[in-house]
Symmetry: C2
Subunit: 170 residues, 2 copies
């Protein structure tokens, strides 16, 4: 059951989400601070019952097909909206204490594969900095990734993590 | 049991192995032609009983710890020489008909992860072209990969594939 809010409740979104194209390599970097511990953000990213509640834009429903968030595991999920369905899959290269390294493919463009590294750094004051870096094999593929409208999904996703934090679900 | 030859038999090594640093992105490209079908090269790369007979330099013994060569699977192996042991692991993002996409980490440097795409193209005359492209997240990491002495292992590995072909093992 998808219990997503369709708009952000008051107070959610206090930290900016920075999405930048790397100047030297075909990668995209995302940075965001949360009022959370690294452990809470790891749970948000690895527990499938939590992941479906935040990953992606608010107006999509997420259904998990496969989910084995451990080093050497794999995942597949589908985002849907009405009759539209978008499949994604990849494997987990590493699920560590404060770092996840995984591959990612949008099944609408199966030739494209990105390698994503997500790290959670404890800022020591109750906050944690999330850094995600996704690299692909060409600048053309990177520009396609940036042109896909990913900002909306990333921003709304992180707001939904804040909502899970606010309601004590993490 | 490791049944590797310590030197290349006569006739092996007729095709050059080209290893080049990509000029634009932090990747390394490898190209090599084989007198083989794409199916034979896929078997060489996916069947663990065959992989241990060719992957890496001649003077190393390869022992497989985990090997599940399917989309979403994972692997871990150890190369050893006397008392030296070198572990490697990763996950298989895709094991397709003519393409393998996998991650790769040398456990001596666990922060480093590369994303490797290997394609087998049928040249239509009994030969197949292997192309491997490995991308990492920085040019510094790419230069470290090139400085690691990978050429010897790659070249001797491909010679050992030719030897498997010559003896009908593929």
């Amino acid at each position: 059951m998808n219990t997503r809010n369709q708009t952000a409740p008051e107070g959610v979104g206090r930290y900016p989400t920075e999405i930048t194209a790397d100047p030297d390599v075909p990668g995209v970097r995302i940075e965001r601070t949360f009022d959370a511990t690294p452990e809470q953000l790891m749970r948000a990213h690895t527990d499938p019952e939590l992941v479906v509640r935040w990953l992606g834009p608010r107006d999509l429903t997420m259904t998990i097909d496969r989910w084995d968030a451990r080093t050497g595991g794999e995942y597949r999920y589908v985002h849907s909206r009405g009759d539209e369905e978008y499949g994604f899959h990849g494997c987990f290269h590493e699920v560590g204490a404060n770092r996840i390294v995984q591959t990612f493919t949008f099944e609408g463009y199966p030739d494209g594969v990105s390698l994503e590294t997500i790290t959670f750094t404890d800022l020591g004051d109750g906050r944690t900095k999330l850094e995600a870096f996704s690299i692909v094999d060409s600048f053309a593929a990177r520009d396609m990734m940036l042109a896909s409208g990913m900002e909306t999904g990333v921003e709304q996703g992180y707001e939904q993590i804040e909502e899970l934090l606010a309601e004590g679900a993490l």
